[in-house]
Amino acid sequence: MKILVCISHVPDTTSKINFTENDTKFDTTGVQYVINPNDEFGLTRAMWFKEKQGASVDVVTVGGKDTEPTIRKALAIGADTAHRIDTIPLDGFQVAKELAKVAKDGEYDLIIAGRESIDYNGGMVPGMLAKLIGANFINTCVSLEIDGEAATAVREIDGGKETLKSSLPLVIGGQKGLVEESDLKIPNMRGIMMARKKPLNVVEPLSAETQTEAKNFRKPEPKGEVTLVDADNLDKLIDLLHNEAKAI
């Protein structure tokens, strides 16, 4: 089985979110970049398929040279080969088109992406990619088993879960649940050393078109002070929630 894991390179969850150039660009000053958390769960699940079912695991990212430490980390965790499509990601459609080329050329059986990237929260790339290459697609995937040519997956729905059967090739939008938090691996020294020798292919982009453009940003209005209510005066809280907030 050939697996491709799509990795997006995103600001760490604790990053300060600020903008520069008249609020048109994300301010990267002091920002640490990581593997998108949803992709890290997927990558770890891919490692399981590698160990237990002899799968090969490639990783791919669309991004500039600055994303290389992030995909090197994926190699250190255990992926076999990395591909970096050498262009700046501009929108979900462009990224999906670039990924589609690598996905097609590599004839992967399973493509693992994340439910969403935590930067733009687009939630677009995996579904678009699946449609572009004619593969099946399962989103918000929290469990995945592969048996020969068939996949059994569980996806999260509003208020529950659903179990699905699909043929391959399959693209998933994965998230926590694919593996547990405690299964996530921090690369060890050996992994890091080995990663240096693993291939990192720089792929020429197609220069795919975009459909959307991120213009200026703004931050939410600063919040007013909290209204404190005494623990012995819960009637007051109920009154505020009813009359002021109109929430109950």
Binding site: D91, A96, G127, D158, Q211, F217, L237, A245, I248
Partner: protein, 322 residues
């Protein structure tokens, strides 16, 4: 050249979110000088949509569509959009709508903007405001394609009444076996509980509850309020509650009208996921907990004392106000 809206239903009944996306679609149609057509799948009574500005409903009834199937549903909406020559297609951001929207966007060769929070601006192209960085910012996104798909964030627009007259039309899309390559084997849905996505009120608890055995009062509080229950990430990581309840940046987003956080410190990753909620209440023993900076109402106190009293008071309140 109308605005098309996909209005979701469950067991034949339109969901509340259907009226919200319809209200939003009507807002766009007014800006563009056109009207709103809705497409429904296996919905029975669709008349109520007229209250929210829908002039025409394409009603699809199909046995094979009785269970949600993203590819087939996306195909239905695609064919409805083409028939109506829609320039804008509006969907919600329910789990199902988020699943089908990227497929729909490729089918229609339409740019897609998710998590939209306001009506588009049309004076310079087609520009929508959406959330980014998990609610830590908003971004203006312009869409350059001729057709656009918009995913409206839950509770971002609200219901706007706008009565019009409505006509219904049966619509039979052409579906092939290719649209049904994924099969649903089983659905495991808690029928008596509100889901976090649909809930007006969410009662959420964290590590301050000390252990899973103490969740009885959280469930009871949720019950009194007709609320969904949720939790912080460590609580689901430790297996005290199911993963489906984990909210925050790496869990589910919450955009409810009221969010009550009990024994949750208010870490940045937690707050990011819930900041779209309108009213936030925190109950925490530690007055320095960061949640107090993000909340509208706060009680410094021990959950084990405050919550049972709050349940009693709310029961009284509900009895007097219903």
């Amino acid at each position: 050249m109308s605005v098309l809206v996909y209005t979701e239903s469950e067991n034949g009944k339109l969901k509340k979110v259907a009226y919200e996306v319809a209200s939003f679609a009507k807002g766009i149609a007014d800006l563009m000088g056109t009207s709103v057509t809705a497409v429904t799948i296996n919905a029975e009574n669709v008349d109520e949509l007229k209250t929210y500005g829908v002039e025409k409903v394409l009603k699809v009834s199909h046995d094979k569509l009785s269970k949600f199937n993203a590819d087939a549903y996306a195909e239905v909406i695609t064919q409805a959009s083409k028939k109506e020559e829609a320039k804008v297609v509006v969907v919600s951001q329910s789990a199902n709508a988020k699943y089908l929207a990227p497929l729909l966007s490729v089918n229609l060769n339409a740019g897609y903007a998710s998590n939209v929070v306001a009506l588009p601006k049309l004076d310079d192209g087609f520009v929508v405001e959406r959330t980014a960085f998990t609610n830590k910012a908003f971004n203006m996104t312009s869409i350059s394609t001729d057709v656009r798909v918009l995913g409206l964030s839950n509770n971002a627009f609200g219901l706007k009444e706008n009565e019009v007259s409505l006509s219904e039309e049966d619509f039979s899309p052409e579906l092939t076996d290719d649209n049904f390559k994924i099969n649903v084997k089983s659905v495991d849905k808690n029928k008596d509980k509100v889901s976090i996505a649909d809930a007006e009120v969410v009662v959420s608890a964290g590590r301050g509850m000390k252990g899973p055995e103490n969740w009885g009062m959280i469930e009871e509080l949720a019950d009194v309020l007709g609320a969904a229950t949720a939790c912080s990430k460590p609580v689901s990581d430790m297996g005290w509650r199911s993963h489906g309840e984990h909210v925050g940046q790496t869990g589910k987003p919450v955009a409810s009208n009221l969010y009550i956080a009990i024994g949750i410190s208010g870490a940045i990753q937690h707050l990011a996921g819930i900041s779209a909620s309108k009213n936030k209440v925190v109950i925490n023993t530690d007055p320095e907990a960061p949640f107090f900076k993000a909340a509208d109402y706060g009680i410094v106190g021990d959950a084990f004392e405050v919550v049972p009293q709050l349940i009693e008071k709310l029961k009284e309140f509900k009895a007097n106000n219903s």
